[in-house]
């Protein structure tokens, strides 16, 4: 069941490749705007790089959250999924996993390239990659709660960011903190451990909350 959901969502995403690419380009464009707004001093850019890249990742993953359940709601698949005998949180987990693979992994992979624009040292690029790899599941997981709550509402796109962005703050702090610690020459490990702990907590609570929210939204 889980595999079927993930496979189905991946196939659907593959048939609409432009959606994935637009999220990635949004990420690159937002990050590239900062040097234009702030100025090209290398020292300054290097010190703001962790925050800028992480905030851009947060915003980019907001964009794709609307698609998480909306298409399935429109063609009626979501109602069928709710009626399956399998527990709903497993269905939700599958969809979130697929969303992570489709929307977040490309960001994780492109981030080191973007980091080069900010003259981030080479060793730190690895930490950036790892911090995003550990942190982006949190974005998909908590974001899915917001997506389920705002399903089918007018102005859902703006509403979801108001609901979800404040809840992302711990991930931002620990994720950007790990990269910053690495730039400063201290160990990024404590930040990464805490980020991992936050990811595990959201892994436990989010699918359950999303399942409850979906039932409420589809009543």
């Amino acid at each position: 069941m889980l595999r079927w959901i993930v496979w189905r969502d991946l196939t659907l995403a593959w048939r609409r490749r432009a959606d994935i690419l637009s999220t990635v380009f949004f990420f690159i464009i937002v990050v590239s705007l900062f040097p234009l707004g702030i100025g090209p001093e290398t020292q300054l850019l290097r010190s703001i790089a962790p925050g800028v890249i992480w905030v851009a990742a947060l915003l980019a993953s907001m964009l794709s959250l609307n698609r998480l359940f909306a298409n399935d709601l429109q063609d009626g698949t979501l109602e069928q999924l709710l009626l399956t005998p399998q527990p709903l949180f497993a269905v939700v987990f599958g969809k979130v996993l697929a969303h992570w693979i489709v929307s977040e992994i490309p960001l994780v992979l492109i981030a080191p390239l973007v980091g080069l624009q900010f003259d981030v040292p080479r060793d730190t690029l690895w930490i950036l990659l790892v911090s995003l790899l550990v942190g982006t599941p949190v974005l998909s997981l908590i974001g899915s709660v917001g997506a389920a709550l705002t399903l089918g509402l007018r102005g859902g796109g703006v509403l979801i960011s108001i609901l979800v962005l404040p809840l992302y703050i711990p991930a931002l702090i620990f994720g950007a903190g790990a990269v910053e610690a690495s730039i400063m020459g201290t160990s990024p490990a404590p930040h990464l451990y805490l980020l991992g702990a936050f990811a595990i907590v959201s892994l436990i609570f989010s699918p359950w909350a999303t399942a409850a929210a979906l039932r409420i939204s589809l009543e």
Binding site: V145, L153, P166, L167, I169, P170, F174, A213
Partner: protein, 241 residues
């Protein structure tokens, strides 16, 4: 006496009406008493001068802001779990008062910061987490107002409030840690460990006043929400007339 009968909005409506003066009038008296003690009895602070007197509203407002969020989540959770309409209505009516107190504590904090620290805003751990708390309130209120179906609005709000309550301690500690990482010396909100007795008295009187004010205002708003949602129920025909 069966207390559960008051869980029905129609029965609670007149009771709330009778309760409001019992909270509103003591609240007004305590506000006057607290302000009197705060302005005329409490001594001028040695370091901060008279500017410190803003704590008599700032600290109670900050406490109320935090406490009302938990209370709101509790009511929303009860409303969702037991399908109790009145508890959900209570949650919606607490949200606005809670957001108001949180905003008040931020504004008074900024006004206090300018003469004391020389700046309206620092990214102090407490100020930052209060700001995030305000964002959480705004999320709850805007989600509820975006949903037309009140049943769905109540339940969706409950899920959001409970997710928020789990997140609040995580946010608080992460912000505190982030803060110590970025700033060498953290500015302490209460500069001194000891506090003069009249100052403490004024603060506690103001806290009680804010408490009673919250109960009164929440009940008034609750009555409005009951009227709004139950306007078609036959029992309210005479109230509306």
């Amino acid at each position: 006496m069966n207390l559960y009968k008051y869980a029905s909005p129609a029965t609670f409506y007149p009771l709330a009406g009778k309760m409001i003066p019992w909270f509103a009038i003591p609240s007004a008296i305590l506000f006057i008493a607290g302000l009197y003690v705060g302005f005329f009895v409490a001594p001028t602070d040695f370091q901060q001068g008279d500017a410190y007197r803003i704590i008599f509203i700032h600290v109670p407002a900050a406490w109320m802001g935090m406490f009302l969020y938990v209370l709101m989540a509790l009511y929303a959770g009860i409303g969702w779990a037991f399908n109790a309409r009145l508890a959900s209505m209570m949650a919606s009516s607490i949200a606005i008062t809670g957001a108001m107190f949180t905003l008040l504590s931020l504004v008074t904090g900024a006004l206090w910061g300018k003469p004391t620290w020389g700046t309206y805003w620092v990214w102090d751990a407490r100020m930052t987490s209060t700001l995030i708390l305000l964002f959480l309130y705004i999320g709850f209120i805007s989600l509820q107002s975006a949903i037309d179906d009140t049943r769905r609005a109540d339940r969706a709000g409950a899920v959001l409030a409970l997710v928020g309550v789990i997140n609040v301690p995580i946010i608080y500690f992460s912000v505190q840690w982030w803060n110590t990482l970025h700033q060498g010396a953290t500015i302490r909100i209460l500069g001194k460990p000891t506090i003069a007795a009249p100052m403490l008295a004024a603060m506690l009187i103001m806290l009680a006043a804010c408490w009673l004010y919250s109960v009164a205002v929440v009940l008034i708003r609750l009555r409005c929400i009951i009227l709004e949602r139950e306007q078609n129920a036959s029992r309210f025909a005479e109230v509306n007339a």
